[in-house]
Amino acid sequence: MTTLPGIAAIGAGLAVLGAGIGIGRIGASALEAIARQPEAAGKIQTVMIIAAALVEGAALFAVVVSLLVAG
């Protein structure tokens, strides 16, 4: 199918949508938690970074699949 790379591009865009929503929500809850308890900011930041990396990993699975389809 000649439009397969185009569909792969749409797939990659949807994956990034998911990543954006996920990491946005993680950031929002981290901000809220730090606002509630500023002395725990270090721990909260660490957990936020870990969770963001995991969510981004999941989104990048989809990007890799898109690259495989399009390439």
């Binding site: 970074i49 990993g57 699975f61 990007v63």
Partner: protein, 368 residues
């Protein structure tokens, strides 16, 4: 005058002076890089493939893939020769081939201009994807020092220099760090106190060499890839697969009876076993696979983004695009610096987590 009160002049401490100085120098340096990059980009409004006439359209995808994939020589830049043709300027690297029981070692510029290479009864040719085949059809094993291998060896040399000098500096000064050890010590303590001990517990010392190696090896290779003309080493799936494989081996060879018990006899009703056991067994393999894909995709995606933004200049074929494009590239490069360190941290953290899970001790209270 008998007494003149000291004026309350602000005398900055030397440390503050130092940081102001560094800040100003960094601003000047960034401005210089920005302008220099704009000028450099404007000098070559088109970037056609080597040897082709200038009027051809810029192949963005081909150029990006060329920079992201591995090569048998280290391509630096293209130069327009006296004949008007574009010639690539690259460092040739050794090609090591094993075919019919014979080891052939030669430099990669033997394959220039599509020539074949002959030694004895064997004749080799390289296609446009960089694969080397024997013209007689025999199988060829390629052990060449490619761009990625050369970059890895450079990273190894850097790591050896940094850490052996750092370790030696403790002997000369009674247990206090000097020079490069001052930079390295907080990082090593960070790996020990924030990655190893919270996740592994009291047996952390046995796993510190692996965690430290993974952390610094991945970080330094990520950084080397961000340098222009650097190699995309950690963005190669074979490399990340090997690193994830090490984690797999270390995790499962450290597995206690409790750990394997949870994999093969999970605490679920008996009728769920046909589902749970395959799921647990896939989980044993899937976690390192996730490590592999996470590192590979993050680094490769970063490189592709930077290359695409630079390619915008050549796609639009306009000088005015250069400052805009380089502004984006500067911004994305800062994010990629963060990603370089972050991905090393996440890989090491998750490896420590998996090792810690494998070292699970039997629960002290019987609850089932």
């Amino acid at each position: 005058m008998p007494f003149a009160p000291k004026t309350n002049s602000f005398v900055p401490s030397s440390q503050l002076m130092g940081s102001v100085f560094v800040f100003r120098i960094s601003i000047v340096f960034c401005a210089f890089l920005f302008l220099y990059g704009s000028v450099l980009a404007s000098e070559r409004p088109k970037e056609p493939e080597a040897g082709q006439i200038e009027a051809e359209e810029f192949d963005a995808i081909g150029t990006i893939l060329h920079h992201v994939l591995d090569n048998h020589d280290w391509h630096l830049f293209d130069k327009k020769g006296a004949d008007g043709q574009i010639h690539p300027v690259s460092i040739p690297l050794p090609i090591i081939l094993l075919s019919e029981g014979q080891l052939d070692v030669f430099m990669s510029n033997a394959f220039e201009h599509g020539h074949a290479f002959q030694r004895g009864s064997r004749s080799y040719q390289m296609d446009e994807h960089g694969h080397i085949t024997d013209t007689n059809g025999h199988s060829v094993l390629d052990f060449s020092i490619t761009k990625n291998v050369a970059s890895m060896l450079l990273a190894v040399v850097l790591l050896l220099i940094i850490f052996t000098r750092g370790a030696k500096s403790y002997d000369a000064s009674n247990g206090r760090p000097h020079g490069i050890a001052k930079v390295v010590e907080p990082l090593v303590l960070f790996v020990r106190d924030d990655i190893a001990i919270p996740n592994i517990g009291h047996q952390y010392k046995k796993y510190m060499p692996y965690l430290l190696t993974a952390f610094f090896f991945i970080w330094i290779n990520n950084l080397l890839g961000l340098i222009p003309t650097g190699a995309n080493f950690t963005g190669n799936i074979s490399v990340t697969a090997t690193l994830a494989f090490f984690t797999l081996l270390i995790t499962n060879f450290s597995g206690t009876k409790t750990y394997w018990g949870h994999v093969f006899t999970p605490h679920v009703p008996l009728w769920l076993y046909p589902i749970m056991i395959p799921v647990e067994m896939v989980g044993v393999v899937a976690k390192p696979i996730a490590l592999m894909i996470r590192l590979f995709a993050n680094i490769t995606a970063g490189h592709i983004i930077i290359l695409s933004l630079i390619s915008l200049i050549f796609v639009f074929k306009s000088l005015a695009m250069a400052p805009v494009s380089l502004g984006f590239v500067l911004f994305i490069s800062c994010i990629e610096l963060l990603v370089a360190a972050l991905q090393a941290y996440v890989f090491t953290l998750l490896s420590a987590l998996f090792i810690g899970l494998a070292l699970e001790q039997p629960e002290t209270n019987a609850h089932h």
